[in-house]
Symmetry: C2
Subunit: 213 residues, 2 copies
């Protein structure tokens, strides 16, 4: 069992974009940040339900495939789930449609818990108001010995990193400068000291960086 | 003739460290930031005057060698030259000893100009109080058709990037988190739009990113 984070960030360190509007809930920055990932065969199949077999199959696809492998539970912030965009909609069920790509229990950290929601394909959303360490205990308990992923956004990922709870951090750096959003790296001086660090460049120009215990 | 910038930055984007003391003028962060570079054969020979032929010869050394190739003049900020550390010493001649590695005219941007200083090996320091565009005109005029490098620090590099004066930006990203210093990327949203961007990973783990017109 390992606790993992996988995030896409810009060259200037922004993991979560903040240019959303009600009409464009992901803003204009997010699609550019994840473009190379969204082009992979794995992502197209798993997230977009595209079974044509199209999509890139290089280094980015290897990481995309790894993203979904051996995950037994996921933890994410209220913002990533969409509760900040739709605070007054008790029926909001996330961005991912009726059959979300997670297929495992997902714990959404929120100050306003609501009943659990069971989706098609094995995903169940639980809404909990607790600390990172306690959320992790709950996730580990249902992960069946598999890994637990901290899905994001950036501030939630940072909370778990600062608490020393993360075994493997993988960031995919897209070489664009966003200049706005939420920074992943703030207040993490010296994080590398507890990890082995590996770097790798994909055909797309994406830089993959792995911090591993 | 091209205008070039080559900088070392941390994963969290800090190009200039700010933890200097009078006893440790480079602080503790700077040596860690440039360690892989300082280990190259080219850097050891050119900067440390080590003619033993020792040092790494991989991808980092290729960039280190490129750093010194075809440069006809350099522009740097007062901070990089050391005027902020030794403001009251009229005889301060920079960090690089009596035979600095530049071997070309170097224009130091400062609000307090002083007489030019000729060093051994071809380096002449000129101290000028002017705009980026005008400094560049002066440097081009003496560069003999070769490239002009904007040496740093981070804020000077950013000024030239924001003014659209730079043809080639090379950053070597060391995968450590400093958490303090001066950020290179602030306020440069969309910079990539005017450039071709290439990424490459060295044996040392350093990530090299090139923005080229």
């Amino acid at each position: 069992m390992a606790v993992r984070i996988d995030l896409n960030i810009s060259l200037d360190g922004f993991a979560t974009t903040t240019d959303q509007t009600p009409e464009k809930p992901f803003g204009e920055d997010w699609p550019r940040l994840v473009a190379a990932y969204a082009a992979t065969r794995t992502f197209r199949e798993r997230v977009f339900k595209d079974t044509s077999g199209k999509g890139t199959t290089g280094i980015d696809d290897r990481y995309a495939s790894d993203y979904f492998a051996n995950i037994g539970a996921e933890i994410m912030g209220a913002g990533m789930f969409g509760l900040h965009n739709f605070p007054d909609d008790p029926d909001w069920r996330g961005w991912w449609g009726e059959e979300p790509p997670f297929r495992v229990p997902v714990f959404v950290l929120t100050h306003k818990p609501r009943p659990s929601t069971e989706m098609a394909g094995g995903t169940v959303f639980h809404f909990i108001n607790t600390t990172p360490a306690d959320a992790l205990r709950q996730a580990v308990a249902v992960a069946d010995g598999k890994d637990v992923r901290i899905g994001g956004g950036a501030s939630v990922a940072r909370d778990f990193l600062k608490a020393g709870l993360v075994d493997r951090l993988h960031v995919a750096i897209t070489p664009i400068l966003l200049g706005r959003g939420i920074r992943l790296w703030d207040d993490l001086r010296g994080l590398e000291a507890g990890y082995m660090v590996k770097t790798e460049t994909a055909e797309s120009g994406i830089v993959h960086i792995i911090f591993e215990r």
